[in-house]
């Protein structure tokens, strides 16, 4: 029996982003996610764990999984490092100097969420990702968002025109539930268009899958499973980085990513 070939040639690699002290790299895809069939790059998506300095904003069932260390954001971040996270997603509401302290304690890449902080460590020391409207990169990476690939492309183009050099495409609220198929389509579309030559979309994609913790689950196990499967869906769609709230999901996302990337 003669079976048609279904493999595809690898494309030119998309943009890579070196994070932290240059020892973490995201992006650089040259195919649809993970497909050996298409010569996929063997690189696992990075997993960022959320830390916040406003414990009230964190669902209690998630915070309680950190054995009391959630009371001190620096300790919380160190615990994420002990758990094997690739980076810290710092939901910052207060003193901007916390960014430097967490960076120094963990030496992990950091995503600074929440309001744009007043001051960040020099990008020569450690490259971070800064989210938030109006955030300026000052050498760090800024995020572009949009509800369609066209919108994201236009936003990336605008940021590039204004001098930003490092960018990440951020998809918020990615999770199993209503809207999942739209989010999956968005991430897939971004990856496919980028590979097809849309240079505005060549940047790494980061999906925040932590939203399932806010859906009122009675226990942490179900929320963790939902978050882990959401992370899996995001990675399968083409996310290069995922932001999670629970340690269980972080562990599963890392293991799934390693297996899918054949590491």
């Amino acid at each position: 029996m003669r079976i048609p070939k279904t493999s595809r040639r690898p494309f030119e690699p998309l943009e890579e982003l070196y994070l932290g002290r240059g020892d973490y790299v995201a992006g650089g895809a040259r195919s649809l996610p993970f497909l050996d069939l298409d010569g996929a790059r063997r690189r696992r998506p990075l997993v960022f764990g959320i830390v916040t300095d406003d414990l009230e904003s964190c669902p209690a069932i998630a915070a309680e999984m950190f054995s009391g260390r959630q009371a001190d954001p620096e300790e919380w971040a160190v615990m994420w490092k002990e758990l094997g996270a690739d980076g810290i997603a710092l939901d910052l509401h207060g003193d901007p100097d916390l960014v430097r302290r967490v960076s120094d304690r963990t030496r992990l890449p950091i995503v600074v969420m929440g309001d744009a902080p007043g001051s960040l460590p020099s990008s020569e020391e450690s490259v971070m990702i800064v989210t938030g409207d109006g955030a300026s990169g000052t050498g760090h990476a800024v995020t572009a968002t949009g509800s369609t690939a066209e919108e994201v492309s236009a936003e990336c183009g605008r940021l590039e025109s204004s001098g930003e050099e490092r960018m990440v495409i951020l998809v918020r609220g990615f999770g199993i539930g209503p809207g999942l198929s739209e989010d999956v389509s968005l991430v897939r579309d971004i990856r496919a268009r980028a590979l097809a030559g849309d240079r505005n979309l060549r940047h790494p994609v980061m999906a925040d899958v932590s939203g399932c913790w806010s859906r009122g689950f009675a226990d942490a196990r179900l929320a963790s499973m939902q978050e882990a499967e959401s992370a899996l869906a995001a990675m399968m769609a083409g996310a290069d980085m995922v932001i999670v709230r629970g340690p269980g999901a972080a562990d599963m996302a890392r293991v799934y990513g390693e297996e899918l990337a054949d590491l």
Binding site: M1, P4, L35, L37, I176, S181, L222, E229, L232
Partner: protein, 228 residues
């Protein structure tokens, strides 16, 4: 891509379903309890539409008893055995049902296809790799199988991703005749089985058969099938 009707339930990429399994070695009370739990779960999880009866005992009588008890749940029936005669024995005892016939011994694909043709029951066709699978489908079609579900023999989520993508491209880009059937993933129990099932859903799988999954896992898989 074509859909297949299994015991009165349509299965296709747009009409997904999953099954939990019961073993025919379970004593009567335990079998009843397990079937009750699966039925209760199916009230919550609308994609839990099937029960797979495994012929672990290799005894026809026990297989018949377990299948008969399972048939009373009203859920779609999937029969899994290494022996085509055992499959035939059970199907003969349930004349109003058209379960999916799963033969665990790939070497007996053609015998099962003849059985499928005679009874009007669809069958799952397995294979080691895409080429082997397509050849087995061609053989089953040649024997007049009443309906076919592809059952690739992968053992990991990576294998599921690669094989399901390969099969989907054969169907959607090449209209390769033997690939134009729903894809079934056979997996085990626990969190890794849920991950394989999830990858299958994300790569055009239509039917997932699990040995077992707890209520939380069923809820997650059902939600994924609802929204993906």
């Amino acid at each position: 891509m074509n859909g297949t009707t299994i015991d009165g339930h349509n299965v296709s990429e747009d009409d997904r379903g999953f099954a939990l399994s019961v073993s025919d070695v379970l004593p009567g009370d335990m079998l009843s309890d397990r079937l009750s739990r699966i039925t209760e779960l199916s009230d919550i999880c609308k994609h839990l539409r099937f029960v797979c009866v495994r012929n672990d005992s290799m005894s026809l009588d026990l297989f018949k008893d377990a299948a008969s008890a399972t048939a009373e749940t009203g859920l779609g029936l999937i029969l899994e055995s290494g022996d085509p005669l055992a499959l035939y024995g059970v199907v003969s005892s349930l004349p109003d049902r058209r379960p999916l016939l799963c033969i665990t011994d790939v070497e007996k694909t053609q015998e099962t296809a003849v059985l499928s043709s005679v009874t009007g029951c669809p069958m799952a066709v397995g294979g080691r790799g895409t080429e082997d699978l397509m050849e087995n489908v061609e053989a089953a079609e040649g024997c007049g199988a009443a309906g076919i579900v592809l059952c690739p023999g992968y053992t990991s989520m990576k294998g599921c991703l690669e094989t399901n993508t390969d099969l989907h491209r054969l169907a959607s880009e090449h209209s390769f005749p033997q690939s134009m059937h729903p894809v079934m993933s056979r997996t085990w129990s626990g969190e890794y089985a849920l991950a394989v099932a999830s990858v299958s859903v994300m790569t055009h799988g239509s039917l997932i058969v699990l040995d077992d999954l707890d209520p939380d896992g069923c809820e997650v898989l059902d939600s994924l099938m609802n929204h993906y």
